[in-house]
Amino acid sequence: MPPSELAPTPAQLVDMHRRMARIRHFEEEAGKLVEGGKIPGALHLYVGEEAVAAGVMVHLDVDDQITSTHRGHGHVIAKGGDFKLMYAELFGKATGYCRGKGGSMHISDLDLGILGANGIVAGSVPIAVGAAFANRYRDTDRVTVCFFGDGASNEGAFHEAANMAALYQLPVVFVCENNLYGEFTSQPRHQRVTDIADRAVGYGMPGVIADGMDASAVFGAAGECIARARAGGGPSLLECKTYRFYDHVGVTGMRIPYRDEAEVDEWKGRDPIAALELRLVEEDVLTADAVAAVHQSVVAEIADAIAFAEASPDPDISSLTEDVYSNPIEPGGVR
């Protein structure tokens, strides 16, 4: 597929920038909290990949759905997730999105169409197909966007789901965030293809490649895929070439070398937020002061959200076995 000619308006550029800044600051603070031992468990930070979430999500309505991955905070934020409920969940507090039962890898907000981050690589791909099926079953024009990584493209779940989506011509867009590593294994060491979008032909759907460090490029490509799905044209596979600035887990990981510092520095030189800000100012969309004001407001909001999370109560032990069933059955059939 040729590069998209669909271009964002100034207002859409500003919108994407704000979403990206929200993700960046949320993740930077989350990284400090986990490295400082304040947040339990593991975080997979989205820093560096913000243009993908923002460039896709700016096309979606609240009724459209997304499925996400273990590296899911950025998707949730870009879809409208609440900082307070997110941080509270990262802290494992009762006020969190999942009442402290899910943590980083399971944040969801069904009211916002967020069908969950997911701890299983490619686990959410078939679920996205199911949501897309329901959208069409109910004769809506809703679209489901499924985020997954280069590593997930090697899972059987991806293959089965992509085939089924194409077979039924469902309104789903498969967005592959190719950050060049499946955990700690580089793409050339986990698959023979360079362009995962090439796999689309095997399913009978369009395959598109976008520069995942360029919000406008993602905007154009995603916009066309989403519009096609919404119009009944079936699924697409959109590969966004991107990079995670931090480690697979946390900020610095276990410091076992598996990628060159020079490679990391080169990608950091293509920081999608810095690039977008340069353009915003050059094209007189925003002044430098206005850009700075965006960051200031996000930072303040995050400070409030972290304070809320830290002050929130832990879950009551009695809630441990709640929420297993919608309709719990007492022994003997008494409900």
Partner: protein
């Protein structure tokens, strides 16, 4: 609702294999959110005949043949349920559940809990278990223990056509994921099945034959074998009470304990491998809660620790039958 409130039969005889699609059809007429998907469930009416006629009545938008893609089938159901539909999906042979296990145990079963209780997942997964049809090790297993071990799932296994229709109706109407296990050996078994829709409540065991000397807890095909054993022993003055849990998880322990309080002896029978089978859980619960009532240790009967063999001679030796149940009961009676 109790057993005595169940609809009286209208005197109509129906085989198990027709009771299943009747329940699905009635649920689909009643609720436009119910759809059916699976391998060969539409045009062919399932390899077992359990979905025959449904495509003709409901059309291809509600009755869907899927690719041979067990992961995608469970994902389709999970995603569709998460956004409001009430899917019924068929996994054909229960042996194939391994292909779908991530979607089943990590997605469908856990989504509600991981999301802090917000998701509602009314999914019915139909699948056919059971040996005795000379289909060898990969088409004959009864893997109910595997699914009973996973919090978030409910597990149902009817032993007759009446229960099949009532339990399937209750499963489809239930707001939680239910694994509905058909024993393929029972598909031709006929019983009185009312024409009108009715539910057999989930979580409610049935005393299918009253007796005084030994409580036999048996499910699926083993219920018929236990009834035959009871008939054979009656002439020798040994009275078996046969209890069919019907819902395997949650287990109706109170009904079983009430029986044990009468008989003071318990024999747990399962067709599947005895080691770590669901019968081990039932026996442990009976021993823990009914110890003071027991005159003998709880006995267990099940298949040996081997895959299901092909040879009819070997297979017959593999599956517990009425003679072995009767022999175990005699041992319990000390006769």
């Amino acid at each position: 609702m109790t057993a005595t409130d169940l609809p009286v039969t209208a005197g109509r005889k129906l085989p198990f294999v027709q009771a299943v699609p009747e329940a699905i059809a009635q649920c689909m007429r009643d609720d436009a959110d119910v759809f059916l998907a699976g391998e060969d469930v539409a045009v062919y009416g399932s390899v077992f005949g359990t979905t025959r006629g449904l495509l003709d009545e409901f059309g291809p938008s509600r009755v869907l043949d899927t690719p041979i893609s067990e992961i995608a089938i469970i994902g389709l159901a999970t995603g569709a349920a998460a956004v409001g539909l009430r899917p019924v999906v068929d996994l054909m042979f229960m042996d194939f559940i391994g292909c779908a296990m991530d979607q089943l145990m990590n997605q469908l079963a856990k989504m509600k809990y991981m999301f802090g209780g917000k998701a509602r997942l009314p999914v019915t997964v139909m699948t056919a278990a059971g040996a005795g049809t000379n289909l060898a090790a990969q088409h004959s297993q009864s893997l109910e223990a595997m699914v009973c071990h996973i919090p978030g799932l409910k597990v149902v296994m009817p032993s007759n056509a009446y229960d099949a229709k009532g339990l399937l109706t209750a499963s489809i109407r239930d707001d939680d994921p239910v694994i509905f296990i058909v024993n393929k050996f029972l598909l031709g078994a006929t019983s009185d099945v009312p024409v009108e829709p009715y539910e057999v409540p989930l979580g409610l065991a049935a005393v299918v034959r009253p007796g005084t000397d030994v409580t036999v807890v048996a499910h699926g095909r083993m219920v018929g074998e236990a009834l035959a054993a009871a008939e054979a022993l009656a002439s020798d003055g040994i009275s078996l009470e046969v209890v069919d849990p019907r819902t395997l998880q949650p287990f109706d322990l109170p009904t079983v304990l009430a029986s044990v309080a009468k008989t003071h002896r318990a024999l747990v029978v399962q067709e599947s491998v005895r080691y770590a089978g669901i019968g081990a859980e039932y026996a442990a619960q009976i021993a823990e809660e009914g110890f003071d009532e027991l005159d003998a240790p709880v006995a267990r009967l099940g298949a040996p620790f081997s895959p299901v063999p092909f040879s009819p001679v070997l297979e017959q030796a593999y599956v517990p039958d009425a003679a072995r149940i009767a022999a175990e009961a005699r041992v319990l009676m000390g006769t």
